[in-house]
Amino acid sequence: MATLYTVLTDFTQWLMDLIAAILDWTKLGILSDLGDWLQSAPVVDFVTTLLVAVIYLITVMMFALCFIWQERKFLGRFMDRRGTQVGVLGFFQNFADGIKVVLKEHIVPKDSDHALFEMAIFTYLASTFMLFGCIPFSDNFYVIDVNLAVLLGIAIFAFGPFSILVGGWASNNKYTLIGGMRAAAQLIALEIPLLLCVVSVVVLTGDLSFVGIVAWQEENIWLIFPLCIGALTFFIAAIGESERIPFDLPEAEAELVEGWATEYGDIRWGLKMASDYFRAYILCALFTMLFLGGWAGPEFIWAEAWFLAKTFIVFFFFIWVRAATVRIRTDQILKLGWRRLLPLAVINLLIAVALKVAEVF
């Protein structure tokens, strides 16, 4: 990010200078002061960060859109058919769908809680986009690299079920309410094994930032080998967390229309649908960084390319599981979460602690 950041800093500096010069030309005292303020370091920093964030957001969104395309094509092959055919290899299907949902009307149900209805989808999408910022592409292409990035990411992720529940309740519809309740139950049941797997990684690496975790794996070993039980648990829990088949109870089309998002239309629904894939992308990226060594790899291609390639491979397994399995019942999900995954995660944590105590690495 260093080079991009410096380029953008220069650009922002030039832009602010230009604006200040124009404001100076007016010979008005207040405007000249405003121009001076615009040239000050904090403002330039802020604008530069904003520009970086926008560029990063668009990049990640484009790659996350590739996930939808990948899912369509692979599911097609799994079902012995071709996937979508719109545009070059069917890639423009996403854009066609996007244009369609943008042109739709925004409808708020009459008896719904209007403020909460609007806020819930907003918080859901905002938390998804905030997560993008937490996921680095490589050690020099990222938005933030705080010391507690893992904790921050998981904390933001845990905000999802809350907005789902609120959105389901605010829509004032039986389907959305059931979907919201299911989502809350399922996501909490699967979040704890997920977190325990992350904790085992943190215990072993002794670092809470993604860059540190990946650097540790580059030095020692990809964590999927010592922590294979944890990787499996994390994978299953990740499928449940991203509400994908076989754990897509919150939006079981056959039973609940569209689950908690039944009442949402227009671009809100489009972004919600896309954000399912964005979250799947985030979970794939987490898996890549925690267990597959992130962007570590032979240096004949960029580190970012390694990272993306691994993420896409992990998502292939997501698609494979979707094509192979059928939706399971609520009690089965809860049973799986509490009785199977949680013990596995604890065993995995014990292994991590044992490895740490024995100082194997």
Binding site: R77, D80, R81, W320, A324, K335
Partner: protein, 251 residues
């Protein structure tokens, strides 16, 4: 009566081998197969399946053969065939079938029932048009170059043979054992010879019976049916003023 409570058996558990692993293997095989070979779907406008030789698309007509018996119009289950007048190339006018393809269900019944194989089935099935009027095919538009295999033959088992096993056989269309016959109720006949004039196949001949009319002392003529020529179009029955003719069904 004690209602048995459904309890979890061992198979109901989410066992990794049964529920997940097996289905994963099966789907992966499908993926490899569909990637190595081509998927079983057909990209329709660009790719087409080879249709069989006896494909039943829209009906077509060979106008030179048509005798205008209107059996197709009578037998059409959707009532989409109508007899309209067209000018013949030899001069004069005659009734020929016009098909409303928009209503046609392409059963091929008209081709099967046609006694002279003038109605045929064609391999044409892409019949979209921008207006319903375009879907009404008049006899000229309905024409289609004939190829062997387009006609539909009589292939069935006779009802009378059903008890013996009912073997399906191909019959000639003019086989008098297969098609119904027209019978005359002689005392009703007034010898008007309208049936002979209407018959499109020329199967009716007014023959002298050898009797003389006691009043006019002229020989009495009665229609005589040539069963090999008769196409059972029932036009003579419709035209008979005294209802002297009727169909005798063959079984």
């Amino acid at each position: 009566m004690r209602i048995e409570e459904r309890t979890y058996t061992k198979a109901d558990h989410l066992r990794p081998t049964g529920y997940v692993l097996k289905s994963l293997i099966v789907t992966f095989k499908g993926l490899v197969r569909a990637t190595k070979n081509r998927p079983c779907t057909v990209l329709y406008p660009w790719e087409r399946l080879v249709y069989p030789d006896n494909y039943r698309g829209r009906p077509g007509i060979v106008l030179e053969r048509c005798i205008g018996c209107a059996r197709c119009a009578r037998d059409c289950p959707n009532r989409c065939i109508e007899m309209v007048e067209v000018e013949l190339p030899a001069g004069g006018k005659a009734k020929r079938p016009q098909v409303n393809v928009g209503r046609c269900m392409m059963c091929g019944n008209c081709a099967e029932t046609c006694p002279v194989n003038a109605m045929i089935v064609t391999p044409e099935f892409e019949l979209c048009s921008y207006s319903r009027a375009d879907l009404i095919f008049d006899p000229v538009k309905l024409q289609y170059p004939h190829k062997p295999g387009y006609e539909v033959n009589y292939e069935f088992a006779l009802l009378s043979e059903m008890k013996k096993g009912g073997e399906v056989r191909t019959y000639a269309k003019n086989d008098p054992n297969v098609h119904d016959n027209v019978v005359l109720d002689a005392p009703k006949c007034i010898s008007c010879s309208r049936c002979a004039k209407t018959c499109p196949a020329g199967a009716i001949e007014m023959a002298e019976t050898g009797e003389l009319n006691p009043k006019t002392k002229k020989p009495i003529k009665r229609p005589k049916f040539d069963t090999t020529k008769c196409v059972v179009c029932e036009q003579c029955i419709e035209v008979c003023p005294k209802s002297a003719l009727s169909i005798k069904e063959v079984l």
